[in-house]
Amino acid sequence: MSEAALVDTQLWEYACLQQVASPSGVHSEAATFLDRLFSDPGTQVHVTAYQMAEIMEVLRKAGLPEAARRTTLAVLQTNCQCVDLDADVALECVELSLRSGIHVYDYLVAVPLRGLVDVIYSADRHFLQDPEFGAVAPVVNPVTWEMQEGQPPRPRSS
């Protein structure tokens, strides 16, 4: 059975990086998850044009070497389905952000993929907080930790 999936940015981030002195499970779980997802021929990972840029920018600011960033970019370009970001959907994301108080970036990652993805993989509590994300596709946290804006990963509460 085929599955079209959105993988939220922090899962890409922690698959590539490890925070010094943080529990090693954070990195290893994300890396294992992403590896398994890409090794499954029935799964097609989708990204928005915005998320592609966001992933690359987070990895740049975190100091991931250029060669590793180029490897990541090549996968995004050749092994993922990408959706352009148009003005109408960007405006819709702004309106959703105004309504919820959640920053617009999470909406820019997910909303353009409405109708295209079957599942959203995310460890971000925002994705469970606003049903608009669940309206795009069911939200599944594939790891044992979760994140909230501006805070390090911590064990999942439920």
Partner: protein
């Protein structure tokens, strides 16, 4: 291509505001041979399996800013 994606040309979804818009069209940004795509993916998977790049907490929070 998934069932949802293959129907994208005709399917229209209801927006929260009440207007319809077509489902976006997804595409592979750089078309390469199946072999090259597999080699690219293998490089990425080797990277994931290797030792991770370590970063201190302050740098990581700054990298994430408020977007992640």
């Amino acid at each position: 291509m998934t069932k949802l994606a293959s129907a994208e040309a005709t399917e229209r979804l209801r927006r929260p505001g009440g207007t319809d818009r077509p489902v976006a069209r997804a595409r592979v940004l750089r078309e390469v041979t199946r072999e090259e795509a597999a080699r690219t993916l293998a490089r990425f998977r080797r990277m994931l399996a290797g030792p991770p790049h370590e970063v201190d907490a302050a740098t990581l929070r700054d990298a994430e800013a408020d977007s992640v």
